[in-house]
Symmetry: C2
Subunit: 451 residues, 2 copies
C-alpha cells in the first residue's frame, strides 16, 4: 500500500505507518467494531465523551436503586489495555468533515482519518416540545439514571414531611411517558421499589397513595413486540399497581404536572421521558443524505454516499434496505454493523476488490422484563416466551452480554440479593453537586431543580 492511498497512516503514537481508523462512539456498535479491529494491521482511535462503555439495557436498574453505576459501566481503557493497536481517547466530538476526512474534537486538534466509523447513537427526542424537554427526566445516559434515583427518593422524603394533601399527591405521582421497553421496564422496577419502601422505609406513605402512570400514544404497550406480548406486559404492570394509559399523549408539562391529549391533567413532580429518540449526529456541512427521522442514509454496505472511507452504524444511521424498512434502533443491529464494517475495512486494506455482500441484519430476538418473575421475549421463528421463563431468558442474556467478569458477578449478586431479600440496597441520594443538595429543592421548584 502506498503513502498516497492512506494519507493518514501516521501512527505517531504506536508506530507502523498503518492506515488509521477513527471510531466515533464506544456504544455497542463502536465497541464491536474496535474489538474486531484489535490486533489487525490498522491504527484504531476510539473516541467517546465518556471513559466507559455503558450497558444501557440496565440503566433502569441503576435508576431504581438495584445496581451501582459502575456495575453497568466498563472502563474503555481497561478493555483495550493489552491491545497493541487500539487506543481510546475521551473526547467530545464537535464535528466531522467528510470531505477533508477529519474529526473535530473539543479542545484539541482535528484528527485525520483514512477510515471513519460513525457510531454516535441516539439521544432523547422531545419532538420540539420545549416544556417537556425542560421538565422531564431522561433515561439514556448514566448521569440520567443516578439523577432519576436521587429525584424519586427525594420526592419520597419530601412527601413524608409534607402536610398539604395536594402537594403530597403530586410528589407521589410518577408519570412515565412511552410504553416501549424502557418505559415498561422502568415502570415495573419503580413499582417494585415502591412496594419495598412505602410504609416500611417511609412510615407515613402507604403504597396506595403512590401513583405510577405509564402513558403510551398507541393502542398498546411494546409495539415492537407482538400484540400478545404487549397485552401480557400491560396485565402484569396493572397487577403490580401501574396505571397504564394507552392511546394517550402528553401534550404539555409545567411544574405542577402534565396535561394529556384527552384533556386529563395529572399533578406530578416527576415526568420520565422514554417516548422517542433521535440520531445523535455530529456531522456538519456538507451533510450526508438523511432519512426523514434524521438517521444518516447509508448504502447496503453501510457506507456514507460520496464520503470516501466513511461508514455509519447503529442508531445514527440506517441502510437503504430492499423492503424499505429501516433497521430498529437496538444494540444487535449496531453490533452486527460494527463487525461488518470492521471486516469491510480490512478487505479494503488488503486491497481486496471483490465487493463484500450487502449487510444483513440477523434478528436474534428482542426481550424486555416487567419485573420480578415476569419477562417477555420474542425469538426468531415467531417463538414467544412470557412469565418466569421470559424473565429467566432475559436474565441470562443480559448477564452474558455484560462486559467484564466483575460486573457480571456484581450484577448477579445484586439480583440474587433483590430476589431473595426483596431489597433495593442502593437507596442513597448522592447529590450531584459538590455541596449536598438541599432536599427542599424538589418541593420549591421544578423537577429540573434536582440537577
Amino acid at each position: 500500500m502506498t503513502e498516497g492511498k492512506f494519507p493518514h497512516q501516521r501512527g505517531e503514537s504506536h508506530g507502523g505507518g498503518r492506515p488509521r481508523v477513527v471510531i466515533v462512539g464506544a456504544g455497542f456498535g463502536g465497541l464491536a467494531c474496535a474489538r474486531k479491529l484489535d490486533r489487525q494491521p490498522v491504527d484504531v482511535v476510539l473516541l467517546d465523551q465518556d471513559n466507559y462503555h455503558l450497558f444501557t439495557p440496565l440503566l433502569y436498574q441503576v435508576a431504581t436503586g438495584l445496581l451501582n453505576p459502575a456495575d453497568i459501566a466498563y472502563p474503555l481503557r481497561a478493555i483495550f489495555r493489552h491491545s497493541p493497536n487500539v487506543r481510546f481517547r475521551q473526547a467530545t466530538v464537535a464535528g466531522v468533515n467528510l470531505m477533508a476526512r477529519t474529526v473535530q474534537v473539543r479542545g484539541g486538534p482535528d484528527i485525520p482519518y483514512d477510515f471513519l466509523v460513525l457510531a454516535t447513537g441516539s439521544t432523547d427526542n422531545y419532538f420540539g416540545n420545549q416544556s417537556i424537554a425542560q421538565l422531564s427526566l431522561g433515561l439514556k445516559v448514566l448521569p440520567h439514571a443516578t439523577r432519576l434515583r436521587n429525584h424519586v427518593l427525594t420526592c419520597l422524603e419530601r412527601a413524608d414531611a409534607e402536610a398539604d394533601p395536594a402537594a403530597r399527591q403530586a410528589l407521589l405521582t410518577f408519570v412515565v411517558v412511552g410504553g416501549g421497553p424502557t418505559g415498561v421496564e422502568y415502570s415495573g422496577a419503580l413499582a417494585e421499589l415502591m412496594q419495598i419502601v412505602a410504609s416500611k422505609d417511609y412510615h407515613e406513605i402507604s403504597r396506595s397513595e403512590i401513583r405510577i402512570i405509564l402513558v403510551e400514544g398507541s393502542a398498546r404497550l411494546l409495539t415492537a413486540f407482538s400484540e400478545h406480548l404487549g397485552r401480557y406486559a400491560q396485565r402484569v404492570l396493572e397487577r403490580r399497581g401501574v396505571d397504564v394509559r394507552t392511546n394517550a399523549l402528553v401534550k404539555t408539562a409545567d411544574q405542577q404536572g402534565v396535561a394529556l391529549s384527552d384533556g386529563t391533567v395529572i399533578p406530578s413532580r416527576t415526568i420520565i421521558w422514554s417516548a422517542g429518540v433521535r440520531p445523535n449526529d455530529p456531522v456538519g456541512e456538507p451533510s450526508p443524505p438523511r432519512f426523514r427521522d434524521r438517521r444518516i442514509r447509508v448504502d447496503a454496505r453501510l457506507r456514507i454516499a460520496g464520503a470516501a472511507g466513511a461508514y455509519a452504524i447503529g442508531d445514527v444511521a440506517s441502510p437503504e434496505l430492499g423492503d424499505q424498512r429501516e433497521l430498529p434502533m437496538l444494540s444487535p443491529p449496531a453490533m452486527q454493523g460494527g463487525r461488518y464494517v470492521a471486516a469491510a475495512i480490512l478487505d479494503a486494506i488488503r486491497g481486496d476488490t471483490r465487493e463484500r455482500a450487502a449487510f444483513h441484519y440477523l434478528d436474534k430476538g428482542t426481550m424486555a422484563t416487567i419485573g420480578r418473575n415476569a419477562g417477555v421475549a420474542h425469538l426468531p421463528g415467531g417463538l414467544e416466551i412470557t412469565g418466569f421463563f421470559g424473565w429467566l431468558t432475559w436474565l441470562f442474556v443480559h448477564i452474558y452480554y455484560l462486559i467484564g467478569f466483575r460486573n457480571r458477578l456484581s450484577a448477579l449478586g445484586s439480583w440474587a440479593w433483590d430476589y431473595l431479600r426483596h431489597d433495593r440496597p442502593i437507596r442513597i441520594i448522592l447529590a450531584t453537586g459538590v455541596e449536598p443538595e438541599p432536599a427542599a429543592s424538589v418541593g420549591s421548584g421544578s423537577a429540573r431543580k434536582m440537577d
Copy 2:
C-alpha cells in the same frame, strides 16, 4: 411524668405523648445515640442533610476507584425500618434555638424538642485561606469522594492527550495537603491506583512522570500516633513513590499550582485538602460557650451550659476534662458520647436524680492504612502494630464497623478483588451534572471547573 415537665411530648405521628429527642446529625455519634434510644420510651427524630449514614473512614477508597459510593453509605431509613419510635427525616438544619428549645430546618416548620443531641460533626477548615478553599478538593463527604475520583481520572485523560510538557506535568502532579490519617491513606491509595493505570491503561503515561506530593506542616506524619509509627508510614509511602515533604505548609494556591512556605512552587492541577477540620456548628444566638477552635464547650456530662436538655457530642463539641486535653475528633469518642447521652436522657425521663458519672472516653486505639499489606495501629497499653498485621487489624476492624451485611460483603469482595487482581475496577468518570461534562474542563480552567 407531667405535661409541664416535657412540653414537647406530642408524638403526633407515632402516638404516645412521650418526650421528644431531636438528634441533629446521623454520623457516628448521632447514629449511636439513636440506636441506643431505639425501643425506649422516647420519640426520637433523627435529622441529617443526607439520607444515609456515611462510613467516612473508607471515603478515600471511593475516591481511588476501589469501592462504590453505596458500599460505604447506608440508608438511614433502612436502619430504623422496624423501629417503633425512631423516625428519620432528611433535612438541612438552619439553626438551633437553645432557649426556645427548637431546631430550625430549611423549608419546614421549626421542630421543638425536650432533649437535643447536637452531633453535627466537622467540616473542612481552610484557616481563612480563600485561594486554597476555592481551588482544593476536600475529602469529608461522599460527593467529595466521587468528585475527586472523576477529577484524578480526568487529569490522566487530559495528560494522555497533552503535547505541552509543562501542562502535562501539572496534570500529573497531585498535591495532598496534611499528613494525618486521611492524607496518608489517600496518598497511599492514590500511589497504588497510579501503579495500576500508568503505562497500562494510559500507554502514554509512565509511572515516573506522576508525582504525588504529601505536604505536612509538622516534622513528621501521623502526629496523633507515636514517632515510630509516623516514621514507618513515611518510609512505606516513600518506597511507593510518594514525595513526602514535612515541615512544609501550603501558603497560596492558584490555577497553576501551589506555593509552599519554603518558597517552592509546585505546578499542579490537583490539590487535595486534608489539613484541618472545624466544627460544623449550626447553633445561633444566644451562643453556647466555645473553645478557641470553635468546638462547643460542654460540661463533663456532655451538657451545653445554660441550655436545658441540650447535649453535644462528637467533633462539634468537647467536654472540659480535668487534664485540659480536648477529645480527639474521631469516631470512637463520638460513638461513646452518643451512647452516654442516650443513657443520661433515659435517666432524666425515669426521674433518676442521682448524678451520672462524668463521661469517660475509653481509647481503644487508633489505626491507619498506608496501602497494600501496610498499616499502623496504636492499641491501648502502648502496643503498636505495623506492616502486614497492622493492615490486617485495620481490615477486620473496618469490616466489623461497616453497617449492613451487604455493605460488608460488597467491601470484602472489592478488597479481595483488589488484593488478588491488583485492580481498581471503578475507574469511571461519572459526570456530576446531567449532561456529560466535557473532559476539556480540567485543562482549560481551574480544578474547580470539575464541579
